[in-house]
């Protein structure tokens, strides 16, 4: 892959706070036009990394190239070509959505922009276009912050945990928006701790923990790379790891608070054995059989759940 097609190149990025290595040698590339996700729990170093790429934070080591320009040296020039979505609840609380968007347009005089009217349509805030920003709901404010990131029709859009605190419907709405942006040819770099979000939206995902990239690839690749098992899940009050390890086909068992996950390479065999074992000692509640997810991958790589 030639470097000219990379929207972002990050090499050996480091950031240290006192004794803590927040970002400890992260390297990856984001190709033009792809949706690239950084998936990991809170404190993994995702936000710090994305802030350094955006130019909002100074790295302690490594190199960053955005659209062919180097951070942090060309930070101001880069700012004109990227869009950063930042959650700021207190941004001009008494100005209307339209007024805030118009104001941001004045920061990009002489450059190509997407008009306020079009942005409002794009993020579906038409009903609220004359509402003061403090009167917007959480999801609406999030959509406004995405609109603000698009004012200068950027080549790359950075979304930092864009659906945190949103209800499922609002979340799906935002996913549609991200897909629409990709249709327009934009490159998108997002961070999230929601596995479903990474699976649904991202062409490629980097799994991040403790300042490192543990794995990188398309969601499908990652799952099939680490997961040959199918998960059988149920609730059982007497759940105990040792009970289930001996069942046919079971590779791994995770028990947490009465919730049992069996990772099996032979589902019919495991199911038969399971039903026989629990015949009269209480029904299996909430039985669910599913393929692997990124959360399973994370669990396997780190021994911890994505959301602690």
């Amino acid at each position: 892959m030639s470097a000219a097609l990379n929207a972002i190149t990050v090499e050996n990025l480091r950031k240290v706070y006192g004794a803590t290595k927040a970002v400890d040698g992260i390297s990856f590339e984001v190709r033009e036009g792809e949706v690239f996700g950084m998936l990991g729990p809170n404190g993994a170093g995702k936000s710090t990394t994305i802030e350094m790429i955006e130019g909002l934070r100074r790295p302690d080591g490594g190199s960053i190239t955005v659209l062919g320009l180097k951070q942090p040296g060309a930070a101001n020039h880069i700012k004109t070509r990227i869009g950063i979505q930042l959650q700021t609840t207190a941004l001009y609380p008494r100005l209307t959505v339209t007024e805030i968007l118009d104001l941001f347009h004045t920061f990009f005089r002489g450059r190509k922009t997407i008009s306020t009217a079009e942005l409002i349509q794009l993020v579906d805030l038409d009903e609220k276009k004359d509402t003061h920003s403090k009167a917007l709901s959480g999801g609406q404010r999030q959509r406004l912050s995405v609109a603000l990131a698009l004012v200068n029709d950027p080549d790359i859009v950075f979304l930092d945990e864009p659906t945190t605190g949103m209800d499922p419907q609002a979340r799906r709405q935002l996913w549609d928006l991200v897909r629409a942006l990709q249709q327009r040819g934009k490159t998108i770099l997002l961070t999230t701790h929601y596995m479903e979000e990474a699976e649904q939206l991202c062409d490629r995902v980097a799994i991040v923990d403790h300042g490192h990239i543990m794995e990188l690839g398309s969601p499908q690749d990652l799952i099939s790379r680490h997961f040959q098992e199918i998960a059988i899940e149920f609730n059982h009050p007497e759940g105990d790891t040792e009970n289930y390890r001996t069942l046919a086909g079971v590779n791994n068992v995770v028990v947490e608070n009465g919730h049992v996950s069996l990772y099996s390479t032979d589902v019919p065999a495991t199911m038969a054995a399971l039903l026989q074992r629990t015949d009269n000692s209480g029904a299996l509640r909430n039985l669910n059989v599913r393929g692997g997810t990124l959360e399973d991958v994370f669990l396997k790589l780190t021994g911890r759940a994505l959301r602690d």
Binding site: N76, T80, L86, A90, Y92, E99, L103, T106, L148
Partner: protein, 367 residues
Amino acid sequence: MSTVFSLYLASMKEFVRDRMSMFWTLAFPILFIVLFGLIFSGSGSVNFTMGMVVEDQGQVGQALAQTFETIARQNNSPFKLETGSRQAEMNSLKKGNLDMVIVIPAGISAQVAQNQTAKVQMYYDPTRNQTNAQIEQTIINSIVGQFNQHYTRVSPPLAVDTISVATKTLSSIDFLVPGILAMSLMQLGIFGTAQPLVALRQEQVLRRLGATPLPRWMLLTSQVLMRMTIALTQTALLVGIGIAAFNIHMEGNPLALLGIVLLGAATFISLGYLIAAFSPTVDAASGIGSAVNFPMMFLSGVFFPLALLPAFLTPVVRALPLTYLADAVRQVMINGTPAFPLTVDLAVLAGWVVVCTLVAARFFKWE
């Protein structure tokens, strides 16, 4: 440039649409002036008895003495006059029969003839009501000031009606209004600038704006312009209400007052930025602001004259920028007794602007 104007408009809209905040920002100085107006309206205009000692035999001394006598004979004169020897008048002053003694010393005609400055001496009892003493001195000052402007050796002494312009009775509120105006400018700078700016930083608004190519100086300039607009509105309200409701008298040039208000606002706005630079949180800004605000309120000659303060505080008084602003405003608005020459006042204020701005720019963190 119009980006600065757009930012300015946005912040003005924010201010105006926050009805509570706008109300208190504008109402606070008004409350002060109404309060003081009501307190002092009962006391009416000042009346005092003055002893005059004329030792100069020349034309200037005689003309000045005649001026005072003419005024004293008017119906609405603020003072009664008696003339006598230095010893007699000073004795009367010590006994408390006189409020003030003015001495026109020997030789001033000769000095004036040689284009030197001649001084007229005023004596007063320092244990008396200080506010009244200040007002009396102000009246005498304004008379002498007018005399200086009009006097030439060729023409006869001032016509009576010209002098009567200078003797409009000044009441206590005339003395206090300039101080209150200066104080409101100070509070605008300290609280109205520092806290909102720190809040912007705390709430990460500065960070959001910093993620765009917007240059920082544009944001700061728009903020300064916005605070200046508020300062001018406060000034207009204060002076307007003072004139309309309490009949305060503005002696000076309105343009000069405007210039000093702008300079004073700049001084305290830059001081506000300095405070914001060293305040990590809004609470810290509020605390530091109060720590700065209270000493200045009481040690800068706003509510009572500087002469009332003990001598060991003089270095502190001289270090406070409000001292110089209050003095300058008082001089321009009502020809008040200067604590410092006006040029010194302006120079000190300008110096504060430069120093505060440089230090604030160096230390202010945007996140």
